[in-house]
Assembly symmetry: C2
């Protein structure tokens, strides 16, 4: 029996949110519908933030009203506060993703709140959700390092995990928001967090900002983590690193995991077909490698060979 690994695509949310040009609603819906048929476990389809702050997410309600849901796929949305959650509750959503940062200055920069205020807000949200069958996932941003403060003490992350569990969240995502994590750190931190999260779904969210994304996944696998966020084409990015890679690339991740004998449940050829459209949708090149190089099982003929070793 192959071990199952669960893949969550966040391109439509974490990827599109930083694109300058508005991605038309029908393009988002068509992409989500195509992704729904690839075997992905979860798709993050929208963010209920202010349209002023993130113009590309202004059509969240429309996207959710137009997509064709495939049974078994979790359709997840991001919400920064109770207002966003209330909007999400009016739509057909499977899971709400709440977030706060492990570092105060990032949380302040991101949602203009102290971490304690974010946690208080989560308590109010959980009250508002009581009786609902909506799943709630809590995302800890900057868990492996903060672009303003640098190193983040593991104790801060553990404390947030514990508070998320006390709040009754169904899942916890540990996020390397700006691509600062290294594999040694991932192994150590996640081995401890995996113990605490034995009863909930534990997800890792990596960015490939400094090229360590898939190495960090390998470290996450060693720590027993079975769920990974990734973005089609490697979309996404970091405001501090223009031109750098974004989220780890969904098709490169699936390609690596399947090569290693894991069962991602994803049809890689279908996923690559969808990934092939991303560059046209966003109007620029994307970092994904397998799309350019082909799968490692793709064979070549002898007629196009440059000589010399390597």
């Amino acid at each position: 029996m192959k071990q199952r690994i669960y893949i969550h695509d966040v391109a439509v949310r974490d990827g599109f949110q930083i694109e300058r040009e508005f991605i038309p609603t029908e393009t988002k819906v068509a992409l989500i519908d195509e992704l729904s048929k690839t075997g992905l476990a979860k798709i993050e389809v929208a963010s209920f933030v202010s349209a002023k702050a993130i113009p590309n997410m202004r059509d969240a309600e429309q996207v959710l009203s137009l997509i064709e849901r495939v049974p078994g796929v979790i359709y997840s949305v991001l919400a920064p506060n109770l207002r966003g959650v209330e909007r999400a509750m009016q739509c057909h959503v499977d899971e709400i993703n709440l977030f706060c940062s492990a570092s105060e200055s990032h949380n302040r920069a991101n949602v203009n709140r102290a971490v304690a205020q974010s946690l208080q807000g989560f308590g109010e949200i959980m009250q508002a959700l009581s009786g609902s069958d909506l799943k709630v996932n809590g995302n800890i941003s900057t868990a492996f390092g903060c672009p303003f403060e640098g190193a983040v003490a593991p104790g801060k992350v553990f404390a947030l995990v514990d508070q998320f569990l006390e709040l009754g969240f169904d899942g916890v995502t540990i996020a390397d928001t700006t691509g600062m994590a290294n594999p040694k750190q991932v192994r150590e931190l996640m081995t401890e967090i995996a113990k605490r999260c034995a009863e909930v779904e534990l997800t890792l969210h990596f960015h490939n900002t400094r090229g360590m994304g898939l190495a960090n996944v390998l470290a996450g696998l060693d720590a027993g983590v079975m769920r990974y966020d990734a973005a089609l084409g490697g979309l996404g990015g970091c405001p501090f690193a223009p031109g750098a890679s974004g989220n780890i690339c969904t098709e490169d991740l699936v390609h690596m995991l399947e090569s290693m004998g894991y069962d991602t449940g994803v049809n890689l050829d279908r996923l690559l077909k969808a990934a092939g459209k991303i560059s046209g949708i966003v109007g620029h090149d994307v970092p994904g490698q397998v799309l350019k190089a082909g799968k490692s099982t793709d064979l070549h003929t002898l007629d196009s060979v440059a000589s010399s070793a390597g």
Copy 2:
């Protein structure tokens, strides 16, 4: 005590050899001289191949006559045959890198010989070198997969390793020539090869063609391998994957290893300074990430922040 990892830069050879424009000799020499002062353990500075086959390596002798050698740095060259070795012996070279492929069709495409003929040639070369203090490294190309044949039986690689050891080589490099290796395969193959190579220097040579390069390094570290080839800027490439990444990127590799607490002996800031020149030298963008994103220890101020999580 931090564990030492040895970094070999191959940009001037494996990187420049596929560039269309001739890189001027003085540019190569200046880059090698700059790399010599970064703390790299080895620099592959030239290839003694036919100028017709690889025009960018036609100045091998001049490069070797002009560089300023730094004590402790190994200056290595590639040689495809006895003729190349004889040319190298006329220069001041520390190490000759011989190569053959683990797959017949790749060896045929690369050097127009059967693997057995390559091995016979190596015997002749070792005779020609007897009495010389030149070190010899043997490189096994396509060890993790062949672009023509697909999977390569581990037994073929083990047999070549054994033959390299019998030939008296000082070092063995296991190369993933076209970026087909996955981390599980690397762990398994290299755990076995590391046992066989306990008495010689064992190096891994990865390409990031499908995004798995640094994940494969992590797997190599798990198998106990302490030496890695890489190319500044992530130069290099694969004739079958135009636009795809080349060799793993030296500065990204050093950044990851130092972040993990390894001692690479390399001054990352100096290396990044050299890496910053590569794009100008080759006249196109290069895949290295840390150059674009900065080191994970580089902090930012709060004034340039886009909101929303991730």
